[in-house]
């Protein structure tokens, strides 16, 4: 098991080619093509109904896709039944077996592989130690807290050293604090066991925290694939720009002289727009609010102040009409502008992301 040969076992590479799944008139998934590297932590991120679970269902063998194929380590798996695919899966509601105790749950996959009861439970105990639940082996699932159930589900999904671990919104049922703690744990566990993880979430913060790469999906289509940084800093579409983090997306027009961009409601930028660009995306943290008279930038009024502890977020209305969100790092003891303050908003042209679609 992983705890005995930590980092030794490597995950498998997964290849999706042109997956398409249709339910009646609904296209749940379209042209889903993706290469997942061995040992990678890959996240499928998208709003509800974007087809994320469908991808996992296809990989786990719960559905026969309308067309397309999947291979694990180069071997096509479409003819393998679920139980032969050697894929671990953690479900959102944990799906622990209520009639088995914690050890019985974790030992289940080993028992299904023909291991005798005693060694199976011994091995299960080792894995429970990894998730720091070694003392709860004899509890029944209904006697566990949400976070503990989550860890048992995780232990059960990795005890048989699956080549790929699938997690479908595994933290969705937990409260925020626990969710953040579990994110760190999951990342840590994954590093220890080194298996490939395909993780599903609609929470962009979670995706940024955990992933080696993120696949942004919407309406059954892949919109963008990239590292968290690339997705955040260089979104290619308006949807991605607005879905990941907070963003101000404004329509643009080319300036008359060809060297400037006119941002609607905001003002000109000293850079020519790339061909075909229709919007400018301005992250709150690249916008600077200056109160000094005569400062460069566009005049605006602060409409609302949101205090976030380390950050202060302002909603501001430009005199040109654009509504913008600004974020400002707040130093300890530092103040914040009150609502109604007149400011000037400045932005460096190189921080602006232009979007075509």
């Amino acid at each position: 098991m992983a705890s005995t040969e930590a980092g030794g076992s490597k995950g498998a590479a997964v290849v999706f080619r042109g997956l398409r799944q249709v339910y009646g008139a609904t296209v749940a998934l379209e042209e889903f093509t993706l290469d997942v590297a061995a040992g990678e932590f890959l996240t499928l991120l998208g709003p509800s109904g974007s087809g994320k679970t469908t991808v996992l269902n296809a990989l786990a063998g719960f559905i026969d896709v309308t067309s397309g194929h999947i291979a694990i380590d180069g071997v096509p798996i479409s003819d393998l039944p679920t139980e032969k695919r050697n894929i671990g899966m953690v479900f959102q509601n944990y799906s622990l077996f209520p009639h088995l105790d914690v050890l019985g749950n974790v030992a289940f996959p080993l028992r299904m592989r023909g291991m005798a009861k005693r060694p199976a439970r011994a091995l299960a105990r080792d894995v429970l130690r990894l998730v720091r639940l070694e003392d709860l082996g004899l509890r029944m699932p209904h006697q566990l807290s949400g976070g503990q159930k989550q860890r048992v589900a995780f232990a059960r999904a990795i005890v048989f050293e699956p080549r790929v671990l699938l997690m479908d919104e595994p933290l969705g049922a937990l409260d925020l604090k626990l969710r953040e703690a579990m994110q760190l744990e999951i990342k840590q566990f994954q590093r220890q066991i080194g298996c490939t993880v395909i993780y599903v979430t609609h929470d962009q913060g979670e995706a940024l925290t955990l992933s080696d790469r993120i696949v942004v999906m919407d309406k059954g289509r892949v919109l963008q694939v990239g590292t968290p940084r690339a997705i955040y800093d260089a979104p290619r579409t308006r949807f991605v720009a607005e879905f990941i983090g907070t963003n101000n997306v404004l329509p643009i027009a080319a300036g008359a002289d060809g060297t400037t961009t006119i941002v609607e409601g905001f003002g000109p930028l000293a850079v020519a727009p790339p061909a075909g660009a229709r919007w400018a995306a301005l992250r709150p943290e690249v916008l600077r609010a200056v109160t000094r008279d005569g400062a460069p930038g566009r005049a605006a009024t602060i409409a609302d102040v949101i205090f976030l502890g380390d950050l202060v977020r302002y909603a501001a209305r430009c005199d040109g009409g654009a509504e913008l969100v600004l974020a400002e790092r707040r130093l300890p003891g530092g103040g914040a502008h009150p609502a109604g303050t007149r400011i000037a908003i400045d932005v460096r042209p190189e921080d602006v992301v232009f979007l075509r679609e």
Partner: protein
């Protein structure tokens, strides 16, 4: 609970308690009295229960019949319930309706129907003869076979519905989870679905057993003289021999068995449905 609330509750429950007291507990007390006083206190009837070979035989036969019927209901009803619980919800209502349909017809009429089907000139014999399978009529009516057949048919909807209720509570995702963990469809059923549905199935079987113990009309009409059950024997003691004291003792046996089974039912029945 506040005092006011308990007064309210007592007032609301009063009619039901009065009804049960008047129509159930009072006669029950009468039966107890009948079995012990004749007119002075005596254990005569209880002695007879122990010594009477007829009573012993009938009790044994009744318990065996109820047990067989309960087991048959389980064996035949469980797969049907499974089929219902796992089918598409669109068709489910239709099949549930089909299963409930006989429920709305009285046991008496259903029993008469079996007489029509199984009689010497009945449909079954007619068909067997017409197909050349048999030469003459086969004796089916007034046999243990007829009693078993009709009782299973009458009680099975209860078994199916009890099982079904337990099965639809089972999260289908658990079976999926078992599959990802390496269980074949059959093993996932055997290790996850079946154990989780067993409580409901056992509850259904116990209900069938309890109801089977008290069957009267069906054995009387389909079983003939040689398949007398406990309820028929009680009737016989009341109407023919007029030994009401002994009839009361037999009734108490039936009641005691039912109470024991109800206790068992409480143990196996899925907890959630009992406690809300």
């Amino acid at each position: 609970m506040t005092r006011r609330r308990s007064v309210q509750l007592a007032l609301m429950l009063a009619p039901a308690v009065a009804l049960i007291g008047l129509l159930f507990l009072y006669p029950l007390f009468g039966i107890l009295k009948l079995s012990l006083f004749n007119p002075a206190f005596t254990l005569e009837s209880f002695d007879k229960l122990r010594s009477s070979p007829v009573a012993a035989l009938v009790m044994q036969r009744t318990f065996l019949l109820a047990l067989t019927v309960a087991v048959l209901c389980f064996v035949l009803g469980y797969p049907i319930a499974y089929f219902l619980a796992t089918m598409r919800p669109r068709w489910r209502a239709f099949f549930l309706y089909l299963i409930l349909l006989p429920f709305w017809i009285s046991v008496l009429i259903r029993t008469y129907t079996w007489m029509v089907l199984l009689g010497r000139e009945g449909l079954v014999n007619g068909a067997l003869h017409g197909l050349g399978i048999t030469d003459g009529p086969v004796q089916m009516l007034f046999t243990g076979f007829a009693v078993h057949l009709a009782m299973v048919q009458i009680l099975m909807p209860i078994m199916i519905l009890t099982c079904f209720a337990a099965m639809v509570e089972i999260d289908p995702q658990l079976v999926k989870a078992a599959r990802t963990l390496g269980a074949s469809p059959w093993k996932a059923f055997a290790t996850v679905f079946f154990p989780m549905s067993l409580g409901g199935a056992a509850a259904g079987a116990i209900i069938c057993f309890i109801l089977g113990l008290g069957f009267y009309v069906t054995p009387a009409l389909l079983g003939g003289r040689r398949n007398i059950m406990l309820a028929n024997l009680i009737d016989f003691e009341v109407h023919q021999t007029l030994n009401w004291s002994f009839a009361s003792v037999l009734a108490l046996v039936l009641l005691a068995a039912t109470l024991v089974l109800l206790g068992l039912f409480r143990l196996v029945a899925p907890e959630r449905r009992l406690h809300g």
